[in-house]
Subunit: 128 residues, 2 copies
Amino acid sequence: MEPRSKHFRKRDAILNYLRHTTEHPSAETVYANLKTEIPDLSLGTVYRNIALFKQQGLIVSLGSVDGVERYDGNIDPHVHFVCTGCGHILDLHGMHVPEELNNAASAEADGVVDHCHLTFHGRCRTCV
Amino acid sequence: MEPRSKHFRKRDAILNYLRHTTEHPSAETVYANLKTEIPDLSLGTVYRNIALFKQQGLIVSLGSVDGVERYDGNIDPHVHFVCTGCGHILDLHGMHVPEELNNAASAEADGVVDHCHLTFHGRCRTCV
DNA sequence: TTGGCTGCAAAAGTTTTGCATAGCG
DNA sequence: CGCTATGCAAAACTTTTGCAGCCAA
């Protein structure tokens, strides 16, 4: 993705990074990885842009693992597997949350369901 | 629940509180609510015991809402609804994650699934 | 010149930890 | 006595924010 302009070079780089990785990184990880490529990048900028993307719905928060928030640039609904051992987050594309559950949820909660997260917790192969 | 002894009075009080509320409190909330009853309770003790309970599997973490971790003393598997507006967490007992998904998850992740969390996000009736 | 993006560093907020004390066994 | 639980306060960490500078339009 070619930057729109110099003005958005960092913003684009951050979103681009989030969209092209499957590691579900934290802000710190995004920063660390882009830092080599963009030496004058600051952590504050990463946080600011991540907050923006989240608000715009361009990325999704997966919640915190070991006290650090993790993000996913793939906003296509999918299921996750979090390894309790190494903290690695895996995408599971072979299943989806049945539509009935969504309906049942909004009915029982007596509210409006926007989206849902299904996350399995366990041990990945190398951590078993 | 009668305390086992004075030695565990606070620990028991914290677990007891978590088990008898449906508000899915944060550590701070547990502290604030028990403080009136146990004036010489410290926040550190709440955090220490919560960490212990979590490790022992006596309570479950629901992840962070607005930067604060929330806990559930009800470890019976159930679904949650988190209101994006007020941060309130609701238990949904009228549904469960189909067993097939569990199997599919461990198969696709090529690991061992311990448990899973299904959480709906949206707006509760008063926040719509 | 104006407005938005950013670096930098300070601040805020949450959670953890060290140390000393008290109480159980 | 030894061990565990705890209060208190400092520390550690993550995340947010204020301010000044810079660049694009």
